[in-house]
Each structure stands twice: as structure tokens, then as C-alpha cells.
Amino acid sequence: MNNADTDLRISSANRGTKITLQVDGVPCTAYEGETVHAVLLAKGIRVLRIAGKTGEPRGIFCGMGICYECRVTINGVPDQLACMTLATDGMQIETR
């Protein structure tokens, strides 16, 4: 478990059942009820994609389905909003 993983989860929060998913091919522990963007952040992954023209890194911004900055590929479907999708067991997430 990397440092960010233990750090950012709030110790007093109620958590759902433990689940395992794959982020860019690497297995990752998460909990039911967490959104994909939160799982990625807890894992220390903040760069979710690269902007086309300027080549700038981008990550979550609005956290509520408005800005479309948090697009990732989920279970093979591209351009899914990480902030609006709940993490599920066995989910495959690809960033960049």
C-alpha cells in the first residue's frame, strides 16, 4: 500500500465492503461506496489525462459531473467520468 493510500482515507469515516480493482493494470484496494476519482486520489494518482493542444496534465476539478476533466476508461469504455462513477469489485480503470 503506498503512503497516500493510508494517509488520505479519513479514519473515522464509515466504509463499505473492501473491494479490489485494477488501475492501469495494477491491483488496488478500495471500498464500496467510494467513487472512482476518490479511489484514484487516495492512491496518489492525480493526473488523469493529458490535454490535447497544450499537452498539460489534467485531473479532477469540479468533482460533480460538470467539468468533464476526470475522463478515464472504465471497463474498456472510454471517456467515463471518474467522479460520477462508483467503484465496483473487479473494475478496470485506465488513466491517460
Partner: protein, 480 residues
């Protein structure tokens, strides 16, 4: 797939839930649609963890006929078995509203017959339609606001509330929004660190706005208590300071600020640098008007209500017959107004359907509460408002449209060429034509136009939106 309902409610925030509660029990078929995985909208999200039931507010909440605080609204929410006739669909996006209240909705794959990972389309006929699509945050762009680690105040709140995850170990908070202090306290409660709060508003501005809280003195009290809480926790709190740049290679690592004079202009030579792993920033709220605009609902411009808002009559009916609007989309004023308007809109629909129950006194009480919210709306929106000079001062290399990557320099150039209306500037620059369809940059662009041209809002022109108002995978259209 095609279905019909007596009443369709878009949005299950405070307004949508209050409306559904009021409509239940009259033998109507009601559909509540929300794009979030669970009900609750912006403030009830952690109180509405996915259940099979529904929620209602304690009916004693409006008994006094006085404005209700957000805290009371949140506390009075309770889970109930789903009332007969109410159907909820989540993670579903309303993409368009067509003549005679026909809705095109994108629904997630578990609800699609056959299997399609991209979900599918559903057509819904609504006898009456209530739009309660809420609000989002607005921003004053600065250099580096696109760096990962820079996020909205709400995004930081949502991470903690919905997923129990801190935005970062150390978070810097900035902007003009009252959410700054709410967020700081939430971070501290969850054992995170707040590097500092950098409030753009001077204390004098806040003091000057206090008389607007005539019916809401408890809010001034709440604000004072919050400040006291932050002082006790020794959080660094600076007023009259603006973030001018976020720095970092792949992620934000430092934030540059400048002090502001009383008019909100940067004072040369006052820059300071803070190290930060996250910056949460926001400059107030903007109503989610895309869907009502696409449906043909007329708008009004009122800076004291958050900009372009949906025009409604006393019954909360929009300019489109049998289409009603409630909550933040008719004017930003927080949870109390959304609660009251959700109930009032539902009562209006019940009356039209010949199902009016209860005494007029009840509706009158709600109308009184609705009126009291106006002062608070002015307070909130004026507090958040950034002076025109701040838009004029945006540097040319700052990105305004994050999706299409269009800079202030390009916008200045096109405005100078004479593209001075919302519509023409959008076409000339492609600003607002990206994935988010202008949800982030359109209110900014509008304020830039007002500041740079000196035109009135009406001369500048209201925004226009076409279906689909939200992006969905193409594959979903192919799946019947």
C-alpha cells in the same frame, strides 16, 4: 424504451425531494431522475446513502413559517419506505426536452434490456415536468488553474462527504465563497490540515452586506461561530488576498497570491508564495440552466440571484406550459429556498391536476418563506461576486475554456474584432464548445464580456444550448 408519468422531476436535491414528498399520496405516477449514483443533490449527499426507500423532511420544518437553516433541513431528513407511485432512476442524464414534455434520457446499462456497457436511451412522456437541476460553482480563472490538485471547493467537500477521503494532507483554500469556511472546518474535523484560507473579500465588504441578512440573523451567528472555530484551531485566515497563479510541473506544488485594495485590484509588489499540495477555490454559484434553456424556458438576468436564472411565475411555472422550475435554477439562495420552492411547485401542480389538499394558509406560509429568502440571495451572490476589474486584469496566457484550451489573449483578440455577444464570441473562439459545453467557462466568458465591453447583460445575450445537453457515449444512441 418509452414510458409515461404524471409528473417527472429532474434532480433529487433538496428541491426535488421536497417536491416528491408533497406530490406523493395523491395517486400519481411520479418519476425522479438524477445523474448522481444516489439522491441528495449537493448538500444531502452523505445523508442519502443508496437505499431502496426514499427520504422525507420532517413536516414540522415549515410550521413556523420562518426561513429554515440548511442545518435544520439536513437534520430533519429521514429515510422512509418508498411512497407508492414514486419511481427513482439514478445515474441517468436528461439530455433534452422536446415539445409536449417528451424527455430523452440516457440510462445506465443495468436498466437497459440486453447488455450495453454504454447504457441506452429512454423516451419519457411527462404530464407535468419539474426542473430542479440545482447549481454548480463558478470561478475566476488564474494561471495554472488547470493543474491537477487545483479543484473546486465543492470537489474537496464531496471527496470527504461521499467517499471519506481528504483532498490532500495539506489544503489551501481560496476564493470568495462562504464554502471556504465550511470546507476548512470539514477538513479539520477529518484530521486534515488547512494551510491557510485566502479570502478575496475584505472584512469591510462583508460588514457592508450584513443588513441584507435581516431575516437570517442566525446565519451571521453561524458565520461568526465558524470563524471562532477556525481561530481556536489556529488556521491562518487572510482577507483581501487573491490567488494569481498555481505552480507545479505535473501537479500543484505552490500557489502565488497578491493583496487586493478595497476595490479588489491587485496591489503591486505584494505577492506571496505558499507551498501546497492542493488548492480548493471557488467564487460562488451558477444555476444549471442548460436543460431549461434547451427546453425553451425564458431566462432573466439578475446578478443578485447568480446571473441567468429560469423565469418563473408565482406558481413556479416557466414560460413553457406545464414545465415548472424550483430551487437554485430560479436563483441562487441555498437550501432553504430550494426546500420551499420544491413544495410550492408541487402544490401548484397538484392544484392544476385538481388534487388540491390542505388549507391556503399553508401555501401562504411557504410563499412568505420564499420571499424572506430574497435578502439572503442578495447577500450570498454579492458576497461571491468578483469585481469587473478582476476580469479585465486576467493575463493573456490564462486559459479560460479548459476543454478547448482557449486563452484570455485569444478572447481579447476576438472581442477587439467585434465579437461582443455570447453567441458570436463562442463561434469566433470555440470557447464553450468543448466537452463540458461551457458549464465552466460560459459564466466566466459572460462576465469577461460585461467587463471588457461595458455592455448590458441583455446586449451581451443569454446563452443557448441544444440537445444533448450532456455528453454521452455514441454507442448509447445505437442501442434502442
Amino acid at each position: 424504451m418509452k414510458q409515461a408519468y404524471d409528473v417527472v422531476i429532474v434532480g433529487s436535491g433538496v428541491a426535488g425531494i421536497a417536491a416528491a414528498n408533497t406530490l406523493a399520496g395523491h395517486g400519481l405516477q411520479i418519476l425522479v431522475i438524477d445523474e448522481n449514483p444516489q439522491a441528495g443533490g449537493q448538500i444531502l449527499r452523505q445523508h442519502c446513502r443508496v437505499t431502496d426507500g426514499f427520504w422525507e423532511f420532517d413536516p414540522r420544518l415549515e410550521r413556523s413559517g420562518r426561513t429554515v437553516s440548511t442545518q435544520k433541513i439536513v437534520q430533519s431528513l429521514r429515510p422512509v419506505p418508498r411512497p407508492k407511485g414514486i419511481t427513482c432512476v439514478h445515474q441517468a442524464r436528461v439530455l433534452g426536452i422536446f415539445p409536449d414534455r417528451q424527455l430523452l434520457v440516457h440510462v445506465p446499462d443495468p436498466l437497459c434490456p440486453g447488455s450495453s456497457v454504454s447504457g441506452c436511451m429512454m423516451e419519457i412522456d411527462a404530464g407535468y415536468l419539474l426542473l430542479a437541476t440545482g447549481a454548480r460553482e463558478r470561478f475566476l480563472p488564474f494561471k495554472g488553474w488547470t493543474l491537477p490538485g487545483v479543484m473546486s471547493l465543492g470537489a474537496a467537500q464531496i471527496l470527504m462527504k461521499s467517499s471519506g477521503i481528504l483532498p490532500a494532507r495539506h489544503t489551501l483554500i481560496a476564493g470568495t465563497s462562504p464554502l471556504q469556511t465550511v470546507l476548512a472546518l470539514e477538513i479539520l474535523k477529518n484530521k486534515g490540515n488547512v494551510t491557510a484560507i485566502l479570502d478575496e473579500n475584505h472584512f469591510a465588504k462583508k460588514l457592508g452586506l450584513l443588513p441584507l441578512l435581516k431575516h437570517h440573523w442566525y446565519l451571521a451567528g453561524e458565520g461568526a461561530m465558524q470563524m471562532l472555530g477556525l481561530m481556536i484551531r489556529k488556521v491562518r485566515f487572510r482577507q483581501g488576498v487573491r490567488v494569481t497563479e498555481a505552480r507545479g510541473k505535473n501537479e500543484v506544488t505552490a500557489v502565488v497570491t497578491a493583496d487586493l485594495d478595497r476595490k479588489g485590484n491587485k496591489i503591486p509588489g505584494t505577492s506571496q508564495i505558499y507551498s501546497a499540495s492542493a488548492l480548493a477555490v471557488g467564487h460562488g454559484f451558477s444555476p444549471n440552466i442548460e436543460l431549461p434553456v434547451q427546453a425553451g424556458c425564458a431566462l432573466d438576468y439578475d446578478a443578485d440571484r447568480g446571473g441567468w436564472v429560469v423565469r418563473v411565475d408565482h406558481a413556479l411555472e416557466t414560460s413553457v406550459v406545464k414545465v415548472y422550475a424550483a430551487g437554485e435554477i430560479t436563483g441562487i439562495a441555498g437550501a432553504g429556498k430550494s426546500f420551499v420552492e420544491g413544495k410550492l411547485a408541487a402544490l401548484s401542480i397538484l392544484e392544476k391536476l385538481g388534487k388540491k389538499t390542505g388549507p391556503d394558509r399553508y401555501a401562504q406560509k411557504l410563499v412568505r418563506m420564499q420571499k424572506q429568502q430574497r435578502g439572503y440571495a442578495s447577500f450570498l451572490n454579492q458576497l461571491c461576486q468578483v469585481p469587473a476589474s478582476a476580469y479585465e486584469a486576467i493575463d493573456d496566457d490564462v486559459l479560460i475554456c479548459r476543454c478547448e484550451e482557449i486563452s484570455m489573449g485569444e478572447i481579447r483578440k476576438q472581442i477587439a474584432k467585434g465579437f461582443v455577444t455570447t453567441g458570436s464570441l463562442k463561434k469566433a473562439t470555440r470557447c464553450g464548445m468543448g466537452r463540458c459545453q461551457g458549464r465552466i467557462c460560459q459564466p466566466v466568458l459572460f462576465d469577461i464580456l460585461l467587463a471588457l465591453t461595458g455592455q448590458t447583460p441583455d446586449q451581451t445575450g443569454s446563452p443557448s444550448f441544444r440537445a444533448p445537453v450532456k455528453n454521452v457515449p455514441m454507442a448509447a444512441f445505437l442501442h434502442p
